[in-house]
Symmetry: C2
Subunit: 109 residues, 2 copies
DNA sequence: TACTTTAGCAACCATAAAGTTGCATATTAA
DNA sequence: TTAATATGCAACTTTATGGTTGCTAAAGTA
C-alpha cells in the first residue's frame, strides 16, 4: 500500500493524533480507549480510528484486558523519521550551497 | 488554517513530495518546474501543486527568471520537525518506562 | 438474570488531497 | 510578427481522511 516512512509521517501529520500520542507518552499508565476519548472532544469511534492509525505506524501498542483495550505509546518508530532527516541536516545551515557540501561529503563515499 | 508543524509534516508525508524535495536538494543548480516535471511521471501541473505545498512549508524557494520559475530546496524547516521529536527521544529506548523517565527529567523543571 | 460499560463494525458525510485536462498568457526564439 | 516554450489558473475526477451515528456483542456488576 504505502511505504513505512509515509505511514509514519502521515500518522504524525495529524494534530489530533499528535495530541493523543503525546497524552499516551506522558500518561502514568496505559489508557483505555474510553479514557482517551474523555480527554478529547470527539466520539470514542473517532479516537479509535486515530489509535488504529497510530498502531499501524507502530507508535501505539494495544493490550486487551477483559473488555478494555489499553494503549501504550511507543516512541521508537520516530527514530526512522529522525534517520530520514539526518541526510538533510547537512543542508540546514547552508541552504544556498547545497551542491558543494553534498559533493564534498559524499563523492568519495 | 493549520499549525506550522502540521503543514510541515503533511508536506513531507507525501512520497512524491519527498522525492521532489530530494531531487532539489541534490540538484547541482536550481531546477525549473518543467525540468522537475521531466524527472517524474506526472503532468507539469501535478508537480506545480506539489511545489506549491513544499513552498508553503518553506521547504522550497521559488525564483522567477523570465518565463521560468526556478526551485531551490531549503532544508532548514526540517529543524522544526527535528525539534518536535527531541522530546520523544528520551522514550525511544525505554518504551516501557515512559513515566519514570519523564518524571525524573521534567518534574523539577 | 438483568443492567451497564467497553468496544468493534458498518455505513455514511463532508472535506481535503492527488492528479488530470483544457485554456489563457507571458516570454523567448525564428 | 509568428511560432514555440514555460507557466498559471480553473474545473473536474477519484480516492483518502477525519469524523459522525447507529447497532451489535462481549465483559463486568447488581
Amino acid at each position: 500500500m504505502q511505504d513505512r516512512l509515509t505511514t509514519l509521517f502521515k500518522a504524525v501529520a495529524d494534530p489530533t493524533r499528535r495530541e493523543i500520542f503525546h497524552a499516551l507518552v506522558i500518561a502514568s499508565s496505559a489508557l483505555s480507549i474510553t479514557q482517551i476519548s474523555n480527554q478529547f472532544e470527539m466520539t470514542r469511534q473517532g479516537v479509535t480510528k486515530h489509535i488504529k492509525t497510530l498502531e499501524d505506524a507502530g507508535l501505539v501498542h494495544l493490550d486487551t484486558k477483559g473488555r478494555e483495550r489499553f494503549c501504550n505509546a511507543n516512541a521508537k518508530p520516530l527514530k526512522e523519521l529522525s534517520k530520514w532527516m539526518t541526510f538533510y541536516e547537512q543542508f540546514w545551515d547552508n541552504s544556498l550551497d547545497n551542491l558543494d557540501h553534498f559533493l564534498n561529503t559524499s563523492k568519495d563515499a
